[in-house]
């Protein structure tokens, strides 16, 4: 069954359906996607690299990671702990950015007469 025949969804091109292709091609929508990509791609790449640095360091450089910092924990524990703060900071930055994307999305929908 072709997806266009899916009974739950109106066929492509039906008159009262939103103009999906028109919105997708509009400069405002393309700018929204670019803005999201500009943040999400580097943020995800950074988080993944930062995260996998932990197993790489504890796996292949255990002597370095055993080093005590001050009179408390070692580098392995502190680097693991820093991952929590990394995750919270990246999430916070994302939420701060996402507010502007919400506004941009609402604006482009009202301009294209969808809302």
């Amino acid at each position: 069954m072709a997806p266009a025949d899916d009974p739950k969804l109106p066929p492509v091109g039906q008159t009262d359906a939103p103009d999906w292709a028109g919105i997708a091609a509009s400069p405002r929508f393309q700018e929204l996607l670019r803005a999201k990509r500009r943040f999400i791609v580097p943020a995800m790449v950074f988080s993944i690299l930062y995260y996998f640095a932990l197993p790489v360091l504890v796996g292949w450089f255990p002597d370095l990671m055993k080093k005590k910092i001050g009179d408390g924990a070692n580098l392995a524990y502190l680097f693991a702990l820093s991952q929590f703060f990394m995750a919270w900071i990246v999430a916070g930055l994302y939420v701060a950015k996402a507010g502007a994307w919400d506004k941009a999305a609402a604006r482009l929908l009202s301009e294209s007469g969808e809302r």
């Binding site: 997806p3 929590f84 999430a91």
Partner: protein, 536 residues
């Protein structure tokens, strides 16, 4: 040693939790008529409520009892689970949650089937969902049975498993998603309070001095498997994993698995819009992060306060956190922590049951068998209720057949590996790759599922030669030297899942899939046409 008699405080707390959740179910049942109300709680759950519910669904017995035990017995390596379980939510937040909420309706497969051929994709997604949920659930039920057996010796394993199974069936069958959500919320609050109290008790034992706490971890003396006395620094990596690739493989499954766990993904359908889905992930990340940082105190705390020898004699790793509570806080606190652990298991199995039964009813029954048409109103919900009953009964049967000492910890690892290898490639590519098509989704679901299960069968979690001292029921399933050297299949199965998705797509042509990409991408990024909350 453990108390041989039943702990009346524990029973009172158990009963209190059960009564509270049944009251929730009774009130939810009145509201849960209609598909959207039953499957998605009417999409009226608020951000903080759903944040607590996501945290509740996620912080399973494997997290609370399992990680505490792993850190207590294997030190630092166990803490890597804690890290991976939180960082994974960045993938959920930045990549999956909002598009999923905007484009889907009740299940993970809604997003996959959006522009692909719905029947093959939904059939396989339902299979993957039910597989992940059932494996995960059996691990939880065996855990519940063992816990009750220790805590309430009069009740026994089989009865305990039946009790958990029946309660979860009642929540899901009568209360639907609304009751399941509130059970998660109550449980999350209990679990967070229990963990904070336990952490404070541990720190008071060390006079609230972090340097004293960490110093105590540097030389812990115990007897290893051969009976020799050893002294180890529990903060040093490598006590559990000897091969560096083990660290990588585990880290991969943890960080990429969460965003493909069906019972977590369906939570985002219970909120009114994508913005609330986002705020619920943030709430969940705050709670989950604090919880997993606290595993430092009750995991490492159990290692230094109790010592691995004591833990080994008193119920093993899974009982490390409750035993720590008993030693530091006495019998009442022990009862409280055990009741919290029990509530945790009950809530998680309810969450798993509803995601499995929703997927069967919505994806398989309505969309695959009946081509997307509900023949009679209410049929989908009725099928889901029957499925929940069957899933519950099957899990009870399997958990009883496996028995209380069964080695089932690998099932949770397997659930994460399947989620990361089969589900995640299909979800990500269907939202972000225009060329992606049905063949790609089918290939990733099949290859990811088969590779994860196949490799885990060849790995040391299933294939190991046990020394003769190990009890028959706790033995590894295949007494043979492992063929795959790592504990977790992720490092091989995840790239295989992604590769299959890419190859399947490039080797076939399906112009229809690309044609509706505009519609999906506009909807995912703007919320235009997204499912709305129902009126009260």
């Amino acid at each position: 040693m453990l108390a041989a008699t039943t702990n009346p405080t524990a029973i009172a707390m158990f009963v209190g939790f059960v009564v509270a959740t049944l009251v929730i179910t009774f009130y939810s049942a009145k509201k849960s008529s209609g598909s959207s109300a039953y499957f998605a709680a009417g999409r009226r759950i608020t951000g903080w409520q759903n944040g607590l519910a996501v945290a509740g669904d996620y912080m399973s017995a494997a997290s609370f009892l399992g990680i505490a035990g792993m850190i207590a017995l294997s030190g630092y390596d166990g803490f890597l689970y804690s890290v991976g379980f939180l960082v994974a939510y960045l993938v959920v937040l930045l990549v999956v949650a909002e598009p999923l909420r905007n484009a889907g309706k009740y299940t993970m497969a809604d997003v996959l089937a959006y522009r692909l051929k719905p029947r093959p994709v939904r059939a396989l997604a339902a299979l993957s969902t039910i597989t992940v949920s059932t494996f995960y659930m059996i691990a939880q039920m065996v855990g519940a049975g063992s816990l009750v057996k220790v805590l309430l010796p009069g009740i026994g394993y089989n009865l305990a498993v039946c009790g958990v199974g029946v309660l979860m069936i009642v929540y899901v069958v009568f209360g639907g998603m609304l009751a399941t959500t509130w059970v998660q919320i109550v449980k999350a609050i209990l679990l967070m309070s229990g963990s904070v109290l336990l952490s404070v008790l541990v720190m008071s034992h060390f006079h609230f001095s972090l340097s004293e706490f960490f110093h105590a971890l540097t030389n812990i003396t115990y007897h290893d498997k051969s009976g020799a006395e050893v002294t180890k620094d529990f903060l040093t990596p490598g006590m559990k994993f000897k091969n560096p690739l083990d660290f990588i493989s585990l880290s991969m499954a943890l960080v990429f698995g969460t965003a493909g766990l069906p019972h977590i993904l369906v939570r985002f359908y219970t909120v009114p819009d994508a913005k609330t889905a986002r705020s619920s992930v943030v709430w969940a990340m705050a709670l989950i992060g604090i919880f997993y940082i606290m595993t430092t105190f009750f995991g490492f705390g159990a290692a230094s306060v109790l010592g691995p020898d004591f833990i080994g004699r008193n119920g093993g790793g899974n009982m490390a956190a409750p035993q720590l509570a008993r030693v530091l806080g006495g019998d009442v606190f022990f009862a409280f922590i055990s009741a919290v652990a029990f509530a945790t298991i009950l809530a998680v199995v309810a969450g798993l049951t509803i995601s499995a039964s929703t997927s069967f009813a919505h994806d398989f029954f309505t969309n695959v068998i009946h081509h997307g048409k509900e023949r009679r109103p209410g049929e989908e919900v009725r099928v889901a209720r029957i499925t929940a009953f069957v899933v519950g009964a099957v899990s009870i049967g399997l958990a009883i057949a496996l028995g209380p000492t069964a080695n089932v910890a690998f099932l949770v690892g397997l659930a994460f590996a399947v989620a990361a290898s089969a589900n995640l490639p299909a979800i990500i590519f269907s939202i972000y790759w225009k060329r992606f098509n049905t063949a790609g989704a089918v290939a990733s679901l099949i290859v990811g599922l088969v590779a994860s299960i196949g490799i885990i069968i060849l790995s040391p979690t299933i294939m190991t030669i046990d020394p003769p001292t190990v009890a028959a029921s706790a033995r590894h399933l295949i007494q043979h030297a492992p063929i795959f050297p790592l504990e977790n299949p992720g490092i091989v199965s995840i790239p295989l899942g992604f590769l299959a998705a890419i190859l399947g797509t490039l080797l076939s042509r399906e112009p229809g899939a690309a044609a509706r990409f505009d519609e999906l991408v506009v909807r995912a990024n703007t919320g235009l046409g997204a499912e709305k909350a129902t009126a009260e």
